[in-house]
């Protein structure tokens, strides 16, 4: 057997597991999305692309998509900016470095449901510390604040992972271009903007992809904190699809929406990838 054959043989167990746990469910969902299957009428009647066409006409689904786009833009943007600030601060020679690392890493170590419960208490309109300090604000009960309160909790959790990734990126950058910029007369701020940030671009783009994927799939925080409410103020698309499948019992409709979301996400990743490889 040639080297290529041995390679395939060694990869086969992994590929089989991957096919079983990822490939099969994906194929099954694709199949479902082309049928009229629901838990109330469990029959595989072939309907073709009808469920996809329905999804495009579903105002709640379109609302959830728009809301998710806003949510992703806010959370990913805020996360990257805050993470960059934290990473730059952590890179300095501050005293108590280990303690700072520990504090920054903490949110990453807590399960999302735990994070949701902690913040639910902090932001509780009657019992929460924030309401006690700043007066009564119904962070999750008022449609004006709910989405942004949810976003802030999410950013609080995501920022630690992003900061550590960016810190690793900053540490791995060659020192000389930065020193060359200083010799050329750049101030620290100019050197950061014109040398460090461009050098950090590959790390930033990878992080952008990871964060976008994570935020598009946000489900757990919505489940714990708002259940999509008040009204549909926080009805993000992943939560909406969950509701469609398991509360509406419409498995084929949810599968079609899931596939549409998958295609949208893939398009986004492709765009980011172009950004990464450009230049």
């Amino acid at each position: 057997m040639g080297q290529r054959g041995v390679g395939w043989l060694l990869a086969l167990p992994g590929l089989a597991v991957l096919g079983g746990v990822v490939g099969l469910p994906l194929l099954y969902a694709l199949f479902l999305s082309l049928t009229g299957y629901s838990f109330l009428r469990p029959s595989y009647d072939w309907v073709g692309p009808a469920r996809y066409q329905e999804a495009f006409r579903d105002p709640y689904f379109l609302h959830a998509l728009g809301l998710t786009a806003l949510y992703v833009a806010v959370t990913v943007g805020l996360t990257l900016v805050l993470a960059l600030v934290l990473a730059v601060l952590l890179q300095q020679n501050l005293p108590w470095k280990g303690f700072h690392y520990f504090v920054v890493s903490l949110p990453m170590l807590i399960a999302p449901v735990g994070v949701g419960l902690i913040w639910k208490m902090i932001l509780h309109p009657e019992l929460g510390i924030l309401s006690y300090l700043f007066g009564k604000v119904d962070f999750f009960g008022d449609a004006r604040y709910a989405l942004f309160s949810l976003a802030l909790v999410d950013v609080w959790q995501q920022v630690s992972f992003a900061a550590l990734v960016l810190l690793a990126g900053l540490r791995s950058l060659p020192k000389e271009p930065l020193e060359a910029a200083y010799v050329d007369g750049a101030t620290p701020w100019q050197a950061f903007l014109r040398v460090t940030l461009p050098l950090l671009r590959p790390v930033l783009v990878v992080l952008l992809i990871l964060q976008t994927l994570a935020e598009v799939r946000t489900y757990d925080l919505v489940y714990v904190l708002t259940r999509g409410g008040p009204g549909s103020a926080t009805d993000l698309v992943s939560y909406y699809i969950y509701r469609k499948a398991f509360l509406g019992l419409d498995l084929s409709g949810a599968s079609a929406m899931g596939y549409l979301l998958l295609l949208l996400t893939l398009a986004l990743v492709a765009a980011y990838y172009r950004l990464l490889t450009r230049g």
Binding site: P174, P177, E179, A181, D184, G185, V195
Partner: protein, 336 residues
């Protein structure tokens, strides 16, 4: 133009620079030469402002610059690994310091054009560093370092990442550019040939101190210590004694030396010759073909001396030969 007065720098327990005193004259090509870890790069970084001295003073153009950050010192610098900005074209790299200065774009274009002409890179303005060879990248780095019109040019082993042919070519260009611009230049290298070829003066460093400061000829022909003698050029140090103007080993050798007392006679391969009736007799143990010459190693009473010969008349291995000594040779003593 550049002065270092009793400069010290330590990193924890390690003393990197240990009381260095140096003075570079205006327009001089000055080289810090030494093996890895001798403190030469740290000394350069102290001048650049990337490190602050623990003691002593760094002066540029008469001004004390200890507390000035690199961007406020009148310097240009070329790094070992070029340190080009990968996201900028050749033009962008060279224009970078000019744009920081706030020059109008027309002036920037004119200056970049002149600089690229100077380093023979006209036509490559639009390329990115990864599209250039090592030699071209180093030329860009040089043009960028000159763009600010610095008073002092600092070069940190700028040729060591290049292959031999390009290194030699760039060495010549560096010398030409320095002559043309008249720029005071501080050059760091571990390559003694490079130092001898380029410099007006050389400081040979060892363990954070300057072991010998002099012109290339002085360093090569009259090394101050056995370390300098062994580090610069090829040669064999023969232990013995200087007495009444002659070198003594087991008997007086017919070699005139300066000084008195114990020390080492430095015998360079180009100063020894094969000679019938020569003073020393030995056995050929190795012959190395070096293109323009053959280097012979001859064992003489427990010493292995090196002799350079023109290719052609090379004795066989194991053959007994006699060696003629130079009439005069450097004599170096242990103390620093």
């Amino acid at each position: 133009m550049v002065e270092l007065l009793g400069v010290r720098k330590r990193y924890g327990e390690v003393v990197a620079v240990d009381g260095v005193d140096l003075g570079l004259k205006e327009g001089e090509f000055f080289t810090l030469l030494g093996p890895s870890g001798c403190g030469k790069t740290t000394t350069l970084r102290l001048v650049a402002g990337f490190e602050a001295p623990d003691a002593g003073e760094v002066r540029i153009g008469g001004e004390r610059v200890n507390a000035l950050p690199p961007e406020r010192r009148p310097i240009g610098m070329v790094f070992q690994n070029y340190a080009l900005f990968p996201n900028m074209t050749v033009f962008g790299n060279v224009a970078f310091p000019l744009r920081l200065k706030g020059l109008p774009e027309r002036e920037v274009r004119r200056k970049v054009g002149t600089l690229l002409e100077m380093v023979h890179l006209v036509g490559l303005e639009g390329r990115y560093p990864k599209e250039l060879s090592g030699g071209q990248q180093q030329r860009v780095a040089l043009a960028r370092a000159l763009a600010r019109e610095p008073k002092v040019l600092l070069l940190d082993e700028p040729l060591s990442a290049l292959d031999a042919k390009i290194r030699e070519e760039l060495r010549g260009e560096l010398k030409r550019l320095q002559r043309e611009t008249g720029l005071t230049t501080l050059y760091v290298t571990h390559d003694q040939e490079e130092a001898l070829a380029l410099s007006d003066r050389i400081a040979v460093m060892r363990e954070g101190r300057v072991e010998h400061l002099g012109t290339p000829r002085e360093i090569y022909e009259e090394p101050a210590t056995p370390f300098v003698a062994a580090f610069v050029g090829t040669g064999v140090l023969v232990p013995g004694e200087a007495r009444e103007g002659l070198f003594h080993r087991d008997r007086p050798w017919p070699v005139r030396v300066k000084g008195e007392g114990p020390g080492f006679l430095l015998l360079r391969p180009e100063r020894l010759r094969l000679e019938e009736g020569g003073f020393l007799e030995g056995t050929v143990v190795l012959a190395t073909y070096l293109g323009s010459l053959v280097r012979l190693e001859v064992e003489v009473g427990g010493l292995v001396l090196k002799v350079d010969l023109p290719p052609g008349r090379v004795p066989a291995l194991g053959q007994r030969v006699r060696l003629g000594l130079p009439e005069e040779a450097p004599f170096v003593r242990e103390e620093r």
